[in-house]
């Protein structure tokens, strides 16, 4: 029996199987676990713009992508969400896209890795550590990077990359783009800064191969 009060899905559910085996919760949990998305990040968040209407147009554009997420994924589209301001919805929107995708496919998909959430700074640190001590986290990402339908590259280029980091990222991102797989990038850098940080080859793929949306709204964390 599922403890309904603790179920992260309870606000978006018809509660038909709370006293038995909930196939929806089971499959969604599996998909999120494979995607490396934590329990906190699975909860549905209400997204809001500033009172003065900043980003209204950008949010509508993102909402449109969310509403057509299966088409976005099947076409292998890419999305770059960036803003120099922290906490104005970049990662929330990226997670919302995966949430929308999972909600569309959960009932008809096999139990395999369909999405990945990669916090790029953490990933690069783990990648370096992996040279000396093999990491399950890196193994999981390497096994699924080309299988996952959609990958979130969160906080890409928070600092200037070393050639080791840039080459690894370029190789993975390039392989996914060549394979027609969708990517969502979030960053606090604008196009010019991204080029400086990641180099032209990688930055060009991120900025120019899909939707490029810059947000200007204020930090809404804690609101």
């Amino acid at each position: 029996m599922i403890e309904n009060k603790n179920c992260w899905l309870k606000d978006n559910c018809n509660k038909c199987d709370c006293n038995g085996f909930c196939m929806r919760l089971y499959k969604l949990d599996f998909l999120y676990e494979q995607a490396l998305i934590s329990l906190m990040q699975r909860r549905h968040l209400t997204l809001r713009i500033d009172n003065n209407g900043t980003d209204e147009e950008k949010f509508s554009e993102l909402k449109n992508i969310e509403n057509n997420i299966e088409e976005f994924v099947s076409k292998g589209d890419n999305l770059y969400i960036h803003s120099s301001i922290a906490g104005n919805g970049k990662t929330s929107w990226a997670l919302r896209m995966v949430e929308a995708y999972f909600n569309k496919i959960w009932h008809k998909t096999s139990l395999s890795c369909k999405a990945l959430f990669i916090n790029v700074p953490s990933f690069l640190l783990a990648l370096k550590d992996n040279i000396t001590t093999k990491s399950e986290y890196i193994k999981h990402i390497k096994e699924n990077i080309l299988k996952a339908d959609i990958v979130i590259w969160d906080d890409i280029a928070t600092k200037a990359s070393t050639s080791f980091e840039a080459e690894n990222l370029l190789s993975m991102i390039d392989s996914r783009i060549s394979a027609g797989k969708s990517n969502i990038f979030t960053s606090n850098l604008n196009d010019e800064e991204l080029h400086k940080s990641l180099g032209d080859r990688l930055a060009s793929r991120i900025c120019n191969l899909g939707y490029n949306i810059e947000l200007y709204g204020s930090d809404k964390r804690g609101i």
Binding site: N12, C13, N14, H44, L45, D55, H107, S110
Partner: protein
């Protein structure tokens, strides 16, 4: 000499399949009629070639020699030897007839001998184009699944393989350690008992009590941990269940453990188990815990001998045998195949069905890697709770109808958490 070589070979290898599969009889052993009779009678009575000591006690002058030839060579030479003897008799008759001037009679003797010459490969084969008895079997199958097939306990697996073939099945379930192979086999044995069959379960490791607790869990969904550890909170439910257990199942499950036969079973012991208990289906848990009746020490040879003997046992007894095998350490990122069965490739080759079991947390996957009469390569996923004995099928991408039913069943009544823009 070939007759002597052959008898020495079977005394050494104890391989009775050479005799049964090639329909050998007394006429092939003209120089060793008594020795042959002794071996043949022993085989018929005990299902076993006599060992050398037993044999030599009756034939102390018999010459024991070392035979290094292949079985195929020995069989072919034995047949050739027999043909030569046949022909020499005929030639003597023809020669005498010709010397007496009976030319026509000599020609007829030659023709008759040619027509009746026993090529030695006259097994009792069936002319498939003229024998249509299989149509009657087909008609019977259309009327009664239970007569020809045994449910595996997994309807989705039955839908693919049709269930265990009651006459021609040697299936192997393969997994790494601690994946739930025994639990799966016990669930399958319970399904067979539910169908009214007399089920045999050889447990090379677990006691009959633990096998029993697993059966109880599968049948009642009472916590297996609570049964094993004697948790008093389930006593009332357990008592109620156990009192009705024998009524609930029309079949039976006979468990055999090494303790009951003073040591690990070999295939000959399993044969005795089948005959004594008149089993309809046998589960063997597990391959690596069986003894090799031929006494091989090398693990690969041992596994290979056991596999061959299990195959022969299945062919002779014509009941389904489901055995469990270990999976080797080969990487499985690109999927599984029969080369990943530990110890011997022969196990996969001899099996009509090979199912790999993989379990991570509560997700259990059955990979059908070999199935003689159905589609290979399918994977079935289950939410498996071994503590309560529940297995819930997770439909895959191709189960369109079930997927749509899932969607409509769980569709939220309305979207919540509308965005604010």
């Amino acid at each position: 000499m070939i007759q002597l070589q052959f008898i020495n070979y079977i005394l050494e290898t104890k391989d009775s399949s050479l005799i049964t599969l090639n329909n050998l009889n007394k006429k092939y052993f003209s120089n060793y009629n008594d020795e042959w009779d002794f071996i043949d009678n022993h085989l018929k009575k005990y299902n076993l070639i006599p060992d050398k000591i037993t044999f030599l006690s009756s034939f102390p002058d018999f010459e024991i020699i070392e035979v290094k030839e292949t079985p195929q060579y020995l069989i072919e030479e034995l047949f050739r030897d027999y043909q030569s003897r046949q022909l020499s008799t005929t030639f003597n008759s023809i020669r005498n007839q010709l010397m007496n001037g009976e030319l026509e009679k000599a020609v007829n003797t030659y023709k008759k001998a040619y027509e009746t010459l026993d090529t030695g490969i006259a097994l009792q084969a069936v002319d498939i184009l003229r024998d249509t008895s299989r149509y009657d079997k087909y008609i019977e199958k259309t009327k009664g699944f239970n007569k020809y097939y045994v449910s595996t306990g997994f309807p989705e697996l039955d839908a693919i393989i049709g269930g265990w073939d009651r006459e021609e099945e040697l299936a192997t379930i393969v997994a790494r350690t601690n994946q739930g192979k025994s639990f799966l086999a016990i669930k399958m044995s319970l399904a067979a008992a539910e169908q009214g069959l007399n089920v045999g379960y050889y447990s090379g490791e677990m006691s009959e009590t633990k096998v029993g607790y697993r059966i109880d869990t599968l049948a009642s969904h009472i916590s297996n941990g609570a049964l094993i550890h004697g948790n008093s909170s389930i006593q009332t439910d357990y008592k109620r269940f156990i009192e009705k257990l024998s009524v609930k199942y029309s079949g039976s499950i006979k468990v055999l453990t090494p303790k009951m036969i003073a040591g690990p079973a070999g295939v000959n012991a399993l044969r005795a188990f089948i005959e004594k208990e008149k089993l309809d289906i046998l589960f063997v848990d597990q391959h690596s815990l069986l003894e090799d009746d031929r006494g091989a020490k090398n693990p690969v040879e041992k596994a290979s001998n056991i596999s061959r003997d299990l195959k022969n046992l299945q062919v002779m007894k014509r009941i389904p045998i489901i055995s469990i095998s270990q999976q080797n350490r080969t990487k499985t990122e690109d999927g599984v195949d029969t080369t990943q069965i530990a110890q011997s490739d022969r196990i996969g080759q001899d099996s009509t069905i090979v199912i790999f079991l993989e379990r991570k947390d509560n997700l259990m996957k059955l990979h059908l890697t070999k199935s003689r009469d159905s589609e290979n390569g399918k994977t079935l996923s289950y939410n498996a709770d071994f503590n309560t004995g529940t297995f819930i099928y997770i439909p895959d991408e191709k189960d369109t109808k079930q997927n749509e039913e899932l969607k409509s069943r769980y569709e939220p009544e309305a979207d919540v958490g509308e965005d604010e823009f």
